[in-house]
């Protein structure tokens, strides 16, 4: 049943090719049908391969399909090979499954856009690149996918490129990602130099055999992780993700919430042997993740743009995934990636539905009381918010709890405390969003109110399905307190993920940890309720009392401004200096100088060209005499 798994990325590739070549001539209906169908076919094969994988014994993993030998130069060798193992199988399911629902949603959302065909072409191309990323059996193929998704992200952020801010956001995302990619590439080079192969299985075996030292492993792991920081929008390279919300909302849901931005987490999990071997790299991953989780959550507190709140929330949640990887609980990190894909894309799509209903309004201060107008969007949004807040029995609770429990069990109490603090903030900002959008007085613009309507079925059906998965997705990875060996997710990943020395907590401690995380989630929601429903004056008083703090948060710690001064402006200044002094003086000097020299020489020589035939004859005579004199003496 796993024989045809290599078709998973090729179907979207084929569909992209057809759309690129003939898309402009095909009718709109056919374009959307083909785009959705390609992803659905991929999804179907993913499911079949997944079932096949369940029946394959561990010794036969990973299943590798070598399509062809791609680069063969000296000792450097790279195949275009795809692999199927539990990790890539889960990723293909998430990418194609969530991707399919978002494609369907897009049919409704983008219905009136002129760039309809272009949009679906990019979206299919993105799915192809993402599948290559997760299915590549070596670092080179993975890097191709890595860059491919970066390109699609750029294209789709700047989809409405005639809007200045969108074009700029696309550029920003691309340039910031480039910093991470450069480090990632360096890490790959180091691996090739020291191990001689990019195949994951070879790398893992070599590290196990002691091919590299601890310090070298740490260096490589940190370089790779910098790549992950760029792609997964962690401190200090997270700045591109909030701006990426300029793209169409389904794109934000698919690329900038569910799949691409989690590629960093996938990569760290894929290289888990290296990270575990290094040890100190793991601590860095955990610290960066934890700090990002809290830092991004605080920025989400004051934003009024509904999509930006979700963007900061995404950064924060990816921080949690990195906490999981950093404390050695890669399965927990991947579990959160998987549940997050459902509830975060649900939240984005629901936010898109709200925008759609309000003719594009993004400011939550101009919403309010929408719950009676949006009978599908409101409950699904609420489910997503409950899931992300970490209320028991929804998916987010199980995965976040698995991460925090692992952090605690590994003795990383500081990381755990940051995670708990982040959880309060998460619950608070999500319910602030819910209360501002769906409860309270209506603060709508009269124009928007006139057109207020629930979205078409193409948009609400994916919402309902995603809401369903946001509820049930967590039940494949139940915590220990629910019973022994109920964590199917963790056991499924075991062949790929090296089990670190697992510390088992007593059941009592487990219960305590769960109670704490539930308590903080409820507290967060309660505070939000007090602030925005019970006594809406509190936020204003709060702002009046701590204007400095509010300003700091509202302006996102001025990080963009700081980066602008430090990097952007200094680069521009440096370029200007180089332009003034080097380009204008040296380069132009050489070019103009050669012209001037030629001109000068010509002028000097033209004195001899008097036009009088006798002068020429005289010079000729003198020359002849000189030549004869030279020959004679």
């Amino acid at each position: 049943m796993t024989d045809y798994f290599w078709l998973i990325p090729l179907i979207p590739a084929l569909s992209t090719l057809i759309l690129v070549l003939f898309g402009q001539k095909l009718p709109k209906k056919y374009v959307s049908f083909q785009a959705c169908f390609a992803i659905f076919a991929s999804f179907a094969i993913s499911v079949i391969s997944f079932i096949g994988l369940l029946q394959t014994s561990h010794e036969h993993l990973p299943i590798i399909k070598n399509l062809f030998s791609w680069i063969h130069a000296g000792s450097f060798h790279a195949d275009l090979a795809l692999q199927l193992d539990p990790l890539s199988s889960i990723m293909t399911l998430v990418v194609t499954g969530v991707g399919f629902l978002i494609h369907v949603y897009s049919v409704g959302y983008m219905a009136d856009d002129e760039g309809y065909t272009r949009y679906f072409t990019y979206l299919n191309l993105f799915t192809f690149a993402m599948l290559i990323l997760v299915m590549g059996s070596n670092l080179v193929v993975m890097f191709v996918g890595w860059e491919g998704v970066g390109l699609c992200s750029y294209l789709l952020i700047g989809f409405w490129f005639d809007k200045h801010s969108a074009a700029n956001a696309g550029k920003k995302a691309f340039i910031v990602n480039r910093i991470g990619d450069a480090a990632f590439l360096l890490g790959i080079f180091f691996i090739f130099i020291n191990i001689g192969s990019g195949e994951f299985s070879v790398i893992n075996a070599a590290i196990g055999g002691g091919a590299i030292t601890h310090s070298l492993a740490t260096l490589i792991a940190i370089l790779l992780f910098v790549g992950a920081i760029g792609k997964s929008a962690q401190i200090p390279l997270y700045i591109w993700l909030p701006d990426a919300m300029e793209g169409p909302t389904p794109v934000s849901a698919l690329i900038h919430a569910a799949t691409m931005v989690t590629a960093g987490v996938y990569m760290v999990a894929r290289m888990n042997v290296l990270f575990t071997f290094s040890g100190s790299a793991n601590s860095i991953v955990a610290i960066i993740g934890a700090v990002t989780a809290v830092f991004a959550a605080t920025m989400a507190l004051t934003q009024n743009d509904i999509k930006r709140v979700l963007a900061y929330s995404t950064i924060s949640q990816i921080g949690y995934m990195f906490i999981g990887c950093g404390v050695g609980a890669y399965a927990a990190g991947m579990f959160h990636l998987y549940t997050h894909a459902f509830f975060k894309s649900l939240l984005f799509l629901a936010a898109g539905s709200v925008m759609h209903a309000l003719s594009g309004e993004l400011n939550m201060q101009k919403m309010g009381g929408l719950r009676k107008y949006l009978p599908f969007t409101y409950p699904t949004f609420l489910i997503g918010a409950i899931a992300i807040a970490g209320i028991p029995f929804l998916s987010g609770f199980f995965s976040k709890d698995a991460i925090l429990t692992s952090a605690y069990a590994n003795g990383q109490y500081f990381v755990w405390a940051l995670g708990i603090f982040g959880a309060v903030l998460t619950a608070f900002y999500m319910f602030r969003l819910i209360f501002l959008t769906f409860f309270g007085n209506e603060r709508l613009e009269p124009e928007a109110k006139k057109h207020l309507h629930e979205s078409p079925p193409a948009m609400t059906i994916p919402l309902v399905l995603l809401a369903f998965f946001s509820i049930v997705a967590g039940y494949v990875g139940l915590p220990v307190v629910a019973g022994k060996n109920l964590n199917f997710f963790g056991r499924f990943l075991e062949p790929v993920i090296q089990q670190a020395h697992e510390v088992h907590l007593s059941l009592g401690t487990e219960w305590m940890l769960i109670l704490i995380s539930v308590a903080v989630a409820v507290t967060g929601i309660f505070i939000a309720w007090v602030f925005y429903i019970k006594n809406p004056k509190i936020p204003h008083n709060f702002v009046a009392k701590f204007p400095g703090l509010y300003k700091l948060l509202y302006n996102k710690y001025y990080v963009d401004e700081i980066y602008n001064t430090l990097f952007v402006n200094s680069t521009i200044k440096g370029s200007e200096i180089a332009y003034d002094h080097f380009d204008l003086k040296v380069i132009d000097g050489i070019v103009n100088g050669s012209a001037k020299t030629t001109n000068f020489l010509g002028k000097v020589l033209s004195y001899f060209q008097t036009g009088f035939i006798k002068d020429y004859a005289l010079i000729f005579l003198l020359g002849a005499i000189l030549l004869i004199g030279y020959l004679l003496f």
Binding site: S606, Y607, Q609, G611, F612, I613, K614, L618
Partner: protein, 100 residues
Amino acid sequence: MIPVNYFLILSIILFVLGTIAFFVKRDLITQFMSIEIMFNAANLAFLAFAKSAGSLDGQIIVFFVITVAAAEAVVGLAIILLIFQKKKTIKSEDIKLMKG
């Protein structure tokens, strides 16, 4: 037999006379004639050497030079004729079209 030096001295005298005449005279026709004298001075030198060396090479070259000089005279006189038609003068000082 007349020694070869005599021929050479005569050849040099002719050549120097031709050169001086070229620089001293002002009309193109006379200058052209002085060039012809220089040609013939060279021819004389060729013949003298050919004779003293007992080889025919020099004589053959002289034939070539005479032929080429005839052709050159045709072209040169034609150019002078055209210049006169255009500028109504054959004074070489008045002609400086090629000034750089």
